[in-house]
């Protein structure tokens, strides 16, 4: 029952409630009003909604990954980023709040929410310079061992805020001028890489005092001719990037400076000028070593955010396309990492999340449409854990 009928109770005697309601109480067991409990171990799908029409009120729609039935919502403020680290039970949000909703003073925070019941746990103040951008997974990343959280800043000068998770405070703000995006080392908790406009990849080692210098790699890509998307996925210790021109760059950021491991020319020799497109155009099933890419035909300069017509499966070891399938007009894609893999795509036109079931490991590539559900007003990132 909780506090349910307070209003009715309080106001009954002052003619605020009609007489019939005052007579209403009879011998019946009133229903208790409580909260839904999330079943432990539920695989969750997270649709990040930019909500551009109401940009101060972004949110994460949380769904059951199997059925896409709603579980709840987490508010993410103004152009907030979110992270759902595998192995963690928490959800991290880096965002901004304005003191008067759409105006007034800006305050930035890393916020921690429980992945078990979606409740707010705590907030860590950070400097007010984080990139207020569309949801790109590379703008907010945890380090190896969850020692740090890294937040990409832009004023528009770029730098990276370092949050110490044990101390629960910001310990540094390291410039990465001309560079953007955070790609942490898998083994070294103090190390991350960043993509630079001159085609190099910078590596930054965070010192205990929160400072650090960027060490450039050799030139790895050409931002004019074949720009790399900043939405990347891990494959083992590597980071896997799609490029505007239809290639996959496999980059090793574990060392002192970053190295190009492989460049797979996915679309080469295929008729129709197919290219990757969208905001999250590639995902990798780590165990199988298969990348899935959102591809559109007749690609041109400027088509790099076009929704997909097909999803391609690329075997990263064999370095070849192993399958193609029709797709909803998707602008974002992720894959779960279990033994029964499924793809989750953002239908950019319907603003829906679509689940495609994938064949078991070793079977031929095919997509089986399973379920679809609203992903919010303008979802631009999808994650699963």
């Amino acid at each position: 029952m909780r506090l349910g009928l307070f209003a009715a109770a309080m106001l009954a005697s002052t003619a605020i409630l009609p007489a019939y309601a005052q007579e209403a109480a009879k011998e019946i067991q009133p229903e208790e009003i409580t909260n839904v409990k999330i079943t432990a171990g539920t695989e969750m799908l997270f649709s990040m909604d930019l909500a551009l029409n109401h940009v101060v009120d972004g949110r994460i729609y949380v769904m059951d990954a199997k059925t896409l039935k709603p579980i709840g919502i987490i508010g993410t403020g103004s152009l907030g980023m979110a992270q759902f680290p595998q192995g963690s039970k928490d959800i991290y949000v880096a965002t901004s709040h304005l003191s008067r909703t759409t105006r007034g003073e800006r305050s930035d925070f890393v916020e921690v929410y429980s992945g078990e019941d979606l409740t707010f746990k705590e907030e860590i103040p950070i400097s007010n310079n984080r990139a207020q951008a569309l949801n790109y997974r590379s703008l907010f990343q945890p380090s190896a061992e969850m020692k740090y959280l890294f937040v990409q800043n832009a004023t528009p000068a770029t730098s990276v805020t370092i949050v110490d998770l044990a101390a629960k405070k910001q310990i540094g703000d390291i410039p990465n001028p001309g560079c953007y995006g955070i790609f942490p080392s898998a083994k070294t908790a103090t190390r991350f890489a960043t993509l630079c406009g001159d085609g190099t990849v910078g590596t930054i080692d965070v010192k205990p005092d929160g400072t650090g210098e960027m060490k450039p790699s050799e030139a790895i890509f050409d931002a004019d001719a074949d720009a790399i998307f900043t939405s990347a996925y891990r494959w083992g210790d590597y980071w896997v990037f799609p490029s505007y021109g239809g290639n996959i760059y496999v980059i090793d950021v574990e060392g002192d400076t970053a190295k190009l491991v492989d460049k797979i020319e996915v679309a080469k020799g295929v008729e129709g000028n197919w290219r990757p497109g969208g905001y999250q155009p590639l995902t990798v099933h780590d165990k199988n070593g298969i990348a899935y890419m959102l591809m559109h035909s007749n690609g041109t300069e400027g088509s790099h955010k076009n929704p997909a017509e097909e999803i391609w499966a690329v075997d990263l070891k064999a370095k070849k396309v192993i399958g193609r399938s029709k797709s909803v007009p998707a602008i974002g894609l992720t894959v779960n990492q279990g033994d029964k893999p499924a793809l989750f795509a953002i239908d950019g036109l319907k603003a829906e999340i679509v689940r495609y079931d994938l064949p078991d490991a070793g079977k031929e590539f095919a997509l089986t449409p399973a379920v679809a559900a609203s992903g919010g007003d303008l979802p631009d990132q999808v994650e699963v854990r």
Binding site: K26, E27, Q29, I33, N35, I73
Partner: protein
């Protein structure tokens, strides 16, 4: 029962502060409680409500509406987002939303048994507005001068987390609208 009342009053004093405390004082504690006592603690051992909570069985067969549809019988005076579309159930808020401390009520007829029930419409609070299944029925709804049956206001008003998220519809008694 005294524990329930203590809990209720404690919460009221805490959440609505001056206004409701004054009001309770003005009306007298006994008057204040007369209605709540009957509804909240009457017939405490009845094991089950006489209808199916998910709208299945008899009730559903008669009404042909699920609790994710505006026309479901309990929603006869509900204005808001159905929590059943937002991760909640007919009488449970989504996992992270506070149950509202105060509510408005409706008296709705269950087509399954033809009886009228008193429905407590609790808002769920403190989370961004759900945005799904917006419904608006107004049977016996009145303006704010009959606040207990008014539905054009945020009933999260008395919660520490006051943002409106969605609305549940719990059966809390038998009703009698006299037609």
């Amino acid at each position: 029962m005294s524990k329930l009342i203590d809990k209720l009053f404690g919460a009221i004093d805490h959440v609505t502060e001056r206004g409701s405390r004054q009001m309770a004082h003005r009306l007298g504690r006994r008057t204040f409680l007369s209605f709540v006592g009957k509804v909240a603690v009457g017939g405490a051992i009845m094991p089950l409500l006489p209808f199916d909570r998910d709208g299945g069985g008899t009730a559903r067969a008669a009404a042909e509406k699920t609790d994710q549809e505006c026309e479901y019988w309990r929603y006869c005076a509900l204005d808001g987002f159905l929590c059943t579309c937002c991760g909640g159930t007919i009488n449970q808020c989504p996992p992270n939303a506070q149950v509202s401390a105060v509510t408005w009520v409706g008296t709705c007829q269950n087509p399954g048994d033809g009886k009228e029930y008193l429905i407590s419409y609790n808002d769920c609070c403190g989370v961004a507005s759900c945005g799904k299944c917006l419904c608006n029925f107004n049977l016996r709804e009145r303006p704010g001068y009959r606040m207990g049956v008014h539905n054009d206001i945020n009933w999260c008003m008395a919660n520490t987390q006051s943002n409106y998220h969605c609305t549940v519809a719990a059966v809390v008694g038998l009703g009698n609208s006299n037609g």
